[in-house]
């Protein structure tokens, strides 16, 4: 089959002047919308669909793809500057991006995010181009038992997400998991823990929790420190320039997470959020100085930013080669295809090589545009931090509130946001880490569903969970990732016992 010919056709679409122009429009629109509170790729694509009516399908879809990864790219800005993640895929970016910005290196943090996103985006497009048809089998290879094993692997990482007490991390994770059980249970239709409130039937939105635990809790601390100018960080943006040593730091995470993120993106249901968390955790696990994570580590920022962009390209594998949307975002993207009269599926590559390869080829250009456009803008965007504290606090609060309102349009969710803000503040007062809460909330829901799907299909036979090589190897990795750091920690402990004692309490 003439894959080469098809690729050439795609390149022609992508490099035609319309192709280039609309990729540009797409990524700009995507980045801007992604920076808006609460608006992520889903809204960005849905908003842009009406604009494509009547356009040439291949050009229109090239633009829509640009909107998609542009929005993921733009979403990290508020995470890093304000600790207010606009979309779920960028929560992990705030773990180290925000501390970095706080210490007066906002420019550098945004530059690292932009470069890692670029690398993640570009490497994964190469992978997409080489393996998209072949990987379609991988995309459907995971059934419920394998997903359960994958989520299990993710959950074992919880202990590593906190520097303090492991017990406290596990407690917050359990409560996060409990929060995920609220709403209609999709396997039985039973409503759980809703207290008769229809607003809770579909569960709590991820963004409510993320913005509450992170942004609002942070506001409380900003309020307490509002007169404290001794920090010196206020308004300092720092240089954008990355030193050679910085690049050396980034190289490892960027390479590894480009691949890992891509693979996780290929699996329907996993997506950018899970990729960014797993990217963050895996880098922390293998880092020489895991203690730096969470305090403004370059690796800790580069990893999730690479992974979430790589996963975004990965998500195109099931979408383009099977017509299966692996996430809410790609489902909307599928809608955009349908509006233009294109039905993605196994035959798309043969039927419409211009569309299939055009989208892929255009991603190279799109990623370059994103980098070139964003780097010069960073100093201006980072100026947000120059706003005087009292004003900044009010604006971040409004930002979070609109963010939640724009996805749910209900004041109920806003009250909920406020409650989670209070919870987040109390958790930080008593040194309960928030990250395990979020992670368990995301993974827990999927974990429960895949567990029960497996058991229903196997008529309750629990052995169905460990009956194939993929899940077994995932469990082995989980156990290893749990045991190895323990051993390593013990060794470290012997070396610097005193220091450890005061830190680990």
């Amino acid at each position: 089959m003439g894959a080469m010919e098809g690729l050439m056709q795609g390149v022609q679409v992508a490099f035609s002047w319309q192709g280039i122009l609309f990729v540009l429009i797409g990524v700009i629109a995507g980045t801007l919308i992604g920076m808006m509170p609460g608006l992520g790729p889903i809204s960005a694509i849905a908003i842009m669909i009406p604009i494509t009516y009547g356009m040439d399908p291949s050009v229109a879809l090239v633009m829509m793809a640009g909107v998609y990864y542009g929005a993921v790219f733009g979403g990290s800005t508020s995470s890093i500057l304000l600790n207010a993640p606009g979309i779920s895929g960028t929560v992990a970016s705030s773990f180290d991006g925000y501390p970095m910005a706080q210490r007066g290196e906002a420019g550098k943090a945004l530059a690292i995010a932009a470069i890692s996103s670029f690398v993640g985006g570009t490497v994964s497009v190469v992978l997409l181009m080489l393996f998209a048809p072949a990987l379609s089998q991988v995309a459907v290879s995971f059934g419920p038992p394998q997903y359960f094993a994958l989520m299990f692997l993710g959950l074992t990482a919880i202990a590593s997400l906190s520097d303090g007490s492991t017990i406290k991390a596990l407690i917050t994770a359990t409560i996060g998991f409990m929060a995920a059980t609220i709403g209609i249970d999709t396997q039985t239709g039973t409503t759980r823990f809703t207290f008769g409130n229809p607003n809770l039937l579909e569960g709590i939105d991820f963004l409510v929790i993320a913005l509450g635990l992170f942004a609002l809790a942070e506001i409380c601390f900003l309020i307490l420190k509002r007169k404290d100018t001794s920090l010196g960080s206020q308004g300092d943006i720092g240089s954008l320039k990355l030193s050679k040593a910085d690049f050396k730091e980034m190289r490892g995470p960027m390479t590894r997470q480009s691949f890992l993120g891509f693979i996780l993106g290929v699996l329907p249901g996993a997506g950018a959020t899970i990729a960014s968390f797993i990217g963050y955790i895996s880098e922390k696990r293998i880092a020489k100085k895991p203690k730096e994570f969470g305090k403004g580590s370059i690796k800790g920022l580069a990893a999730p930013e690479t992974a979430n962009n790589a996963a975004t390209s990965g998500a195109f594998v099931p979408l383009l080669s099977l017509g299966i949307p692996g996430s809410g975002t790609t489902a909307v993207m599928l809608g955009a295809f349908l509006v233009l009269g294109i039905q993605p599926g196994p035959l798309l590559m043969a039927d419409r090589p211009d569309v299939f390869w055009g989208i892929i080829a255009s991603m190279y250009i799109g990623n370059i545009f994103l980098l070139v456009l964003n780097l010069p803008l960073i100093p201006y965007i980072a100026k947000i931090l120059k706003i005087a504290r009292p004003m900044l606090i009010s604006l971040v609060a409004i930002f979070s509130l609109i963010g939640v309102y724009a996805i749910s349009f209900s004041t109920f969710d806003l009250y909920l946001l406020l409650i989670f803000g209070v919870l987040g503040y109390l958790m930080r007062l008593f040194s309960f880490p928030a990250a395990p809460f979020i992670l368990a909330f995301i993974l827990g829901g999927m974990m429960e569903q895949s567990l029960r799907q497996s058991l229903t299909a196997s008529n309750g036979d629990i052995m169905a969970l460990i009956s194939d090589p993929v899940s077994i190897s995932l469990y082995i990795v989980s156990i290893l990732s749990f045991v190895v750091p323990l051993i390593r920690n013990r060794k470290n402990n012997q070396h610097q016992q005193e220091e450890q004692n005061s830190d680990a309490s």
């Binding site: 406290k168 724009a406 806003l414 040194s431 008529n459």
Partner: protein, 152 residues
């Protein structure tokens, strides 16, 4: 008996888990699946109790830094509560007087309260930020924020 902070939190968590378990045991039964919707919540409820018990006997004392974080002066707590109250009031008014007006009140009021004293800038930001947000959401992005009392 409840000497340390951990012990107090632990008791609170156990009560919370008990309430959660109570609700879990009262979930509606669905007869057609081998594992019903109550299994995972029950596991989580007991898990939380076990973890809370561990926390109760957790000997490790808090670092000075951690204790210091809780040393918030009474006055500052009042400030926090006041801002929380303003957010509450904002949410309450949002769908009544509309996004632009309530955001204006909040941004102006909150930043003034926290010590922002440049009157002109405060008013300018409090007018422009909500207005730009509102117009771009409603007209550029077709996402409706509450209109409220304003005619547009």
């Amino acid at each position: 008996m409840l000497k340390t902070m951990n012990q107090k939190i632990s008791v609170f968590l156990i009560l919370f888990a008990a309430g959660y378990l109570y609700l879990s045991y009262n979930l509606k039964k669905y007869p057609y699946v081998p594992v019903d919707s109550d299994l995972v919540p029950k596991v989580l409820g007991y898990l939380l109790i076990v973890l809370a018990i561990f926390l109760f006997f957790d000997k490790s004392s808090e670092t000075e830094e951690e204790k210091e974080k809780r040393q918030v002066p009474k006055k500052e707590i009042l400030v926090l509560l006041a801002v929380g109250g303003m957010i509450f009031f904002y949410i309450f008014l949002l769908e009544i007087i509309g996004f632009v007006l309530s955001s204006f009140l909040f941004i102006f009021g909150c930043s003034w309260f926290l010590g922002y004293r440049k009157l002109k800038t405060a008013i300018l930001v409090a007018v422009l930020f909500p207005l730009i947000m509102y117009l771009s959401f409603n007209y550029l992005l077709q996402i409706r924020l509450p209109q409220g009392l304003l005619p547009f």
